[in-house]
Amino acid sequence: MGGGTAGTMAANKLRKELSASDWQITVIDADDDHRYQPGYLFMPFGTYQPEQVTKSRRATLNSRVDLQYGEIDVIRPEEQVVALADGREFAYDMLIIATGVSPRPDQSDGMLGEHWRDSVHEFYSYEGSVALSEKLKDWPGGRLVINIVDMPIKCPVAPLEFAFLADGFFSEKGMRDKVQMTYVTPLPGAFTKPIAAQAFGNTLEDKSIEVEADFMLMEIDNDKKALVSYDDREIPFDLLVTVPLNMGQEFIGRSGLGDELNLVPVDKFTQVSTQYDTIFALGDANNIPASKAGSVAHFEIDIFVENFMQHIAGKEMTHRFDGHANCFIETGGGKAMLIDFNYDYEPLPGKFPYAGVGPMNLLKESRINHLGKLAFRWIYWNVLMPGRPMPLPALMSLKGKRTDLLETDENKEPALSA
């Protein structure tokens, strides 16, 4: 279920592994628009045009994978049946839930009020990103507030990147002095990992971006045009760019398969459902304590395919996903950082993917990292989605990383925490 990043990779990879006479693969999705979601960050600033972030799901899937369009109504896991809203039913032997998470502005009081898509914006949906790009074209300046409602969110660094890119965007337009920027987060700070925090150093101060931390949004006051927190702080805005609460799909809750955010509880090493051994949840749709990001889905699915083959053969799954993530962070001015981390290791400085050589730099701003991020769109469509091999190991490697910066007890390679 779901023909986005995770579902497409899983279907295409499994199609190569599974015998066509034994296994039929069907993908169900609502429409044919596969979005390159990392592009949503760039569209507001005119770096990418809407047509550059969309391809046909059908064309992105292996031709021997069946694609059905429809809204999912409910899963009946005991019967191993998926029912669609139009009445069609699909029986399954194995089910993969890869329906991601969606921004839910309806979950915050006042967000869908009179200022929605006027001075209250988001860039986590295609429509939102397009609307924000229109808004920024002739916005005269004022108080720009960037806000995260709550964690977890897709691509947790994207709001920071938005702040950095906005700083560069307004500087280039010669109007940075007309924009007052505030970054409002429910976390204890903009940076929460000590080594990364040090690497970013005074980036926010240098860019004159104020930080309001520990801010739990209670409501958006439409009369005052202000964010209001549970501890009665008010932050007025002329333009709000918020990241609404991210939730899994409603049908997951209806099917009794989700937690309070409709995320599917799974084993964090194998992504098999904690309730049914006929169900896996991949990518953003599951509840593993890793970042919700395409790179995580990619590494996870490399491991998943090996486990899945053992599982259907009635064997024990012996491969363990480590929560590996690898993300470029745009810092503005044509530069970017790169971070590489997993369940056990926070982002560390160093070289990637080859120790001593790079060419990418970890936790350090560079032009080549930025070019890597832009090149990634091509890699996404042409290498990742078709399920072609990437020259990157699925599990995180410590080679090339400055592990000496970690506190002594953690310098040793830990056994993966159970």
Binding site: P156, P186, L187, P188, K193, P194, D259, E410
Partner: protein, 104 residues
Amino acid sequence: MATTVINGKELAVDDEGFMTEYDQWDESIGQELATVIGVDMTDDHWKVIRFLRDDFQAKGETPTIRRVSTAGGVDTKTLFRLFPKKPAKKMSYIAGLPKPHGCV
């Protein structure tokens, strides 16, 4: 790795004083940690702390304020009353769990 001594027990902590070893915690230590940050523990406080402990064990992650409210049954307003100003940080500190974090 830094350590601190509470109730005669040597505990592993990070540089902000958050405990780093789940199994070193017990309720008497929680009580002491609460005193350190000026929180007067009541039954309502303990209900929250016990939820945090159980949920961390089940999920491997400190629950967010939203999760404490929806899955733990203590609403956000109440959490701000019980643990003023910074409930997420104070709850996890008392419960001997890592504070909520992002990826950088």
